[in-house]
């Protein structure tokens, strides 16, 4: 019997396990399906990680390495190459690997399965089905870990960070990246990545455009790109043809929660992750969730912070701390798509809580308003807010306790 089982050995799982250890747990196991720890960081060889967490700029593998080193000096056990098949509400975990199919039991569980990429199907791109259409992450794995190139003439659909990073990476490796195409009127990635991945290499970014046709019966031969109207419908007559052998899709990430759903944990339809309290506890007591399995983060540093809170909360749970059911709910107000956490234990000992959310509009000078009914509880000024960047506010718990429902909304200059 373990005190804590952490499902997933990526950045979220590593930070949760380390934090639980620091908070006094000794019998901790990390179950990881891949053959090594680190998760997706292993293929994210670019720099830009760790500025918040370590105050220096690291590559993905270096960031993972820091945590793996930290865990090396602990009693945390690691099961690699091991898939979790099922988690039951009473915390039985069925796992499989070549040495055996077994059930392990734990007093607490942290769900840290990360996320997966949206595919061509999720956006229904019309056309044929040749090879050469990859999710950006799959192409990244081939290139950075296996030394295999996805192709030589490339178009990228989606300007999320993975797409932008791959535009630069494929260019450096000798491919011709013809264009980066974005459905929305703004990029989904960080501005710095637009500069250093697209502008640096003269790769055009087509905003408010999408891929309307895929051609080729064997290998991809070409695609059509068209401008879209304000309802994101292609505008006839604006079509451009690109001859290319590769289309990379960077069209969003979806939290991986098949295990969570099967365990009967309450889900948030907006995040596709579990609904969590301020301590990252799910609807099943003693089962916590963190990282991209809860909501898709922009920065791994935030994943680590959030996961450390989940690990610490798991340690509290094992030590016998139980919360009363009295809770406050966070509501999505104007221009707010979701919040994490969704719920607050009113009897939490924490003085402050971290609240994350995303807006669905582009704002210039603006305010974040925390309110309940007509009463404004707190306000935060922002110079700008964009959907691509997660917002973070810190709220004092004392000011929240008296309310059952707390609304987060945005107001200001809309662009």
């Amino acid at each position: 019997m373990y005190e804590l089982a952490v499902i997933g050995g990526g950045p979220a799982g590593l930070a949760a396990a380390f934090s639980a250890y620091q908070n006094g747990l000794k019998k901790i196991v990390i179950v990881e399906r891949d053959r090594e720890l680190g998760g997706i960081l292993n293929q994210c060889i670019h720099n830009g990680f760790g500025l918040h967490r370590f105050k220096e700029e690291l590559s993905g593998p270096e960031y993972a390495h820091r945590y793996i080193e930290m865990l090396n000096d602990t009693s945390v056990e690691v099961k690699l190459d091991t898939m979790v098949i099922e988690i039951t509400p009473d915390k039985k975990i069925y796992t499989t690997n070549p040495s055996g199919y077994e059930m392990i039991e734990a007093e607490s569980i942290v769900l840290a399965m990360g996320c997966r990429e949206r595919t061509r199907g999720a956006i229904s791109i019309p056309g044929t089905r040749p090879s050469g259409v990859f999710t950006a992450g799959a192409a990244q794995r081939y290139l950075n870990m296996e030394g295999l190139m996805a192709g030589s003439r490339v178009v990228i659909l989606g300007s999320g960070d993975i797409g932008l990073i791959m535009a630069r990476r494929m260019t450096l490796e000798g491919a011709k990246v013809l264009a980066c195409v974005e459905l929305m009127p703004y990029s989904g990635g960080l501005n710095r990545n637009i500069v250093q991945c697209l502008h640096d290499y003269n790769i055009p970014l087509y905003l408010s455009h999408t891929v309307t046709e895929i051609r080729g019966t064997k290998r991809l031969e070409g695609i059509t790109v068209a401008k879209v109207d304000e309802n994101r419908r292609p505008i006839p007559g604006t079509e451009m043809n690109f001859e290319c052998d590769t289309l990379l899709l960077s069209v969003g990430l979806i939290p991986e929660n098949e295990l969570t759903r099967a365990a009967g944990i309450d889900m948030d339809a907006r995040t596709n992750g579990s609904r969590v309290y301020e301590n990252m506890e799910t609807s099943i007591g003693g089962v916590f969730a963190c990282g991209n399995a809860v909501h898709v983060h922009d920065l791994v540093d935030y994943v680590s912070d959030e996961s450390a809170r989940a690990g610490a909360a798991a340690a509290e749970y094992v030590k016998g701390v139980r919360h009363k059911s009295d809770c406050a709910l966070f509501e999505n107000g104007y221009a707010v798509t979701y919040t994490v956490p969704q719920k607050l234990h009113k009897d939490t000992k924490a003085e402050k809580i971290d609240l994350f959310f995303r807006v669905n509009k582009v704002f210039g000078k603006s305010r974040i308003i925390v309110s309940s009914g007509d009463k404004e509880i707190a306000g935060f000024k922002r110079q700008f807010m964009v959907p691509g960047e997660m917002q973070h506010i810190i709220l004092p718990v004392d000011k929240l306790r008296e309310f059952d429902s707390i609304k987060i909304s945005a107001e200001g200059e809309e662009k």
Binding site: M83, P98, S124, L148, S152, E173, R219
Partner: protein, 476 residues
């Protein structure tokens, strides 16, 4: 291939029809070869269709289609059990939305009874709603056919073809037939760079059956390729319906259906438009038509759960019925449009009888092997899995996380009697890459396993058809 070897029977085309005929013939003492132009079996209409075993109330009384559909559906159930093919007899509903359609439903009922379909019932709205709660409130009545089923069409064809191979039938892949010459009592078939001598020819060439016919005989029919597109939705939508839900058929076909698949997904489609032979593209107009039509039956289908769109080509013909005819030693099995998948074993039985009537009689074997093992980790109990992994550790390593497919199952597919040689070939045999991530995670691992097992470099592994390479080696 042995030089100068004479085959008794050559089957051109290894879709579901060719596979079923090969299976039926492999029960007999003969030398048989199947010639396929693609790099795998089940690459034409068999790879992209509704995956439905129709009950048999659609085809007009007295047609071959009526007779063979009912017989085929009956045989399919037994075959899937024997050959370990995913199959579920979930029944179907044809929904009526107005008085005219109620008449159609009544007509289908009578037709079904005449065709010998068992258990048909006409249900009221309330009765329909009771067994299929998500139907539209505009439904007025329905035809319920309990014998309709869903199947995995790829595995069905692969299982039949593999059993044929286990029983001595040869398969030649990557060999397009370009000429057929009568030579005395026999035929000489040119396929790729080979010449195949054979006493009898069976033309099961799907959308190319008219061309193949014309190589040997005077022109007699035209294939009219007709395209249908589909949505395949994630398992979160898989329980939206529990039967195959049709609308009333029209001249264009059986219309847009909504059905669970054997893998637990939801399939929605198809439309029907005339097309080119090889045009398997799904157009925006196809997809919006399907969405708009499907929600008339099941308004709550959530298309945001889509994981894949695809299209298939129906080998329709300029005749109203299947074309199964003898011309000397040349047998056409052509125009096998819907319900072709459901009819396949019936078609095979009928074709072999037709051959016998035309002098091609072969004695039955005593030692016919009529079973096929297939390990499916995903559907096992915890105890069965533990036992399996103990016996072979490779069944303990999950490669495809969406469909829970293990390395052992992938290796089984690669070393099967008709071996998987491509990433999609693996998918068709053991479902790796079929799920919600569409091979995003397992694709590189499957590629690695294929390359390792076949002892070839990874860049030579293809996704699907010949020429569909996946990756290139870096230049350094």
């Amino acid at each position: 291939m042995e030089c100068g070897k004479m085959y008794d029977v050559s089957i051109i085309g290894c879709g579901i029809t060719g596979s079923a005929i090969a299976y039926e013939l492999s029960k007999r003492k003969l030398k048989c070869v199947v010639i396929e132009k693609e790099n795998d079996v089940a690459m034409g209409a068999t790879r992209a269709n509704s995956a439905i075993i129709h009950a048999g109330y659609d085809p007009a009384e007295g047609t071959l289609m009526a007779k063979l559909n009912v017989r085929g559906a009956e045989l399919c159930k037994e075959l899937c059990e024997k050959l370990s093919v995913p199959y579920a007899q979930i029944g179907s509903l044809v929904l009526a939305f107005n008085n005219e359609e109620i008449q159609t439903v009544n007509m289908l009922y009578k037709r079904g009874v005449a065709n010998g379909v068992k258990g048909l019932k006409i249900l009221s709205y309330e009765e329909t709603k009771a067994i299929e709660p998500n139907i539209s409130k505009d439904v007025t009545a329905s035809l319920y056919a309990p014998t309709a089923a869903v199947v995995n069409p790829w595995e069905y064809a692969v299982a039949l073809a593999e059993t044929a191979v286990v029983n001595g039938v040869e398969i030649i892949l990557n060999s397009e037939v370009t000429g057929i010459r009568k030579s005395g009592d026999a035929f000489e078939i040119t396929a790729g760079n080979k010449t195949i001598k054979t006493k009898y020819v069976i033309n099961a060439a799907g959308v190319n059956a008219d061309e193949v016919h014309d190589m040997a005989l005077p022109h007699s029919f035209n294939i009219i390729p007709n395209k249908g597109a589909y949505y395949l939705l994630d398992k979160t939508e898989g329980k939206r319906v529990s039967h195959v839900v049709f609308q009333c058929p029209t001249k264009a076909g059986k219309g847009v259906l909504v059905a669970p698949t054997v893998h637990g997904n939801l399939i929605v489609g198809p439309n029907a438009i005339d097309s080119d032979l090889n045009d398997t593209s799904a157009k925006d107009t196809d997809l919006s038509f399907i969405r708009g039509t499907a929600v008339k039956s099941i308004p709550s289908v959530d298309f945001r759960a889509n994981i894949r769109n695809f299209s298939g080509i129906r080998p329709n013909s300029d005749r109203d019925d299947f074309i199964i005819e003898a011309n000397g030693g040349f047998f056409d099995v052509a125009g096998i449009k819907s319900p072709g998948l459901a009819s396949a074993p019936g078609i095979a039985e009928y074709t072999v009888r037709l051959m016998e009537e035309n002098g091609a009689y072969f004695e039955l074997k005593e030692n016919f092997i009529n079973t096929r093992e297939h390990v499916r980790f995903n559907t096992m109990s915890h105890e069965e899995r533990a036992e399996l992994v103990k016996k072979n550790p490779l069944y303990g390593r999950v490669i495809c996380r969406c469909e829970t497919v293990t390395e052992g199952e992938i290796i089984d597919a690669i070393h099967a009697p008709i071996p998987a040689r491509t990433v999609d070939g693996v998918k068709r045999r053991c479902a790796a890459g079929l799920g919600r991530c569409q091979g995003g995670f397992c694709g590189p691992r499957v590629l690695e396993i294929l390359a390792r097992e076949l002892k070839v470099p990874r860049e030579s592994i293809e996704k699907d058809r010949a020429g569909s390479y996946i990756v290139r080696r870096r230049e350094d």
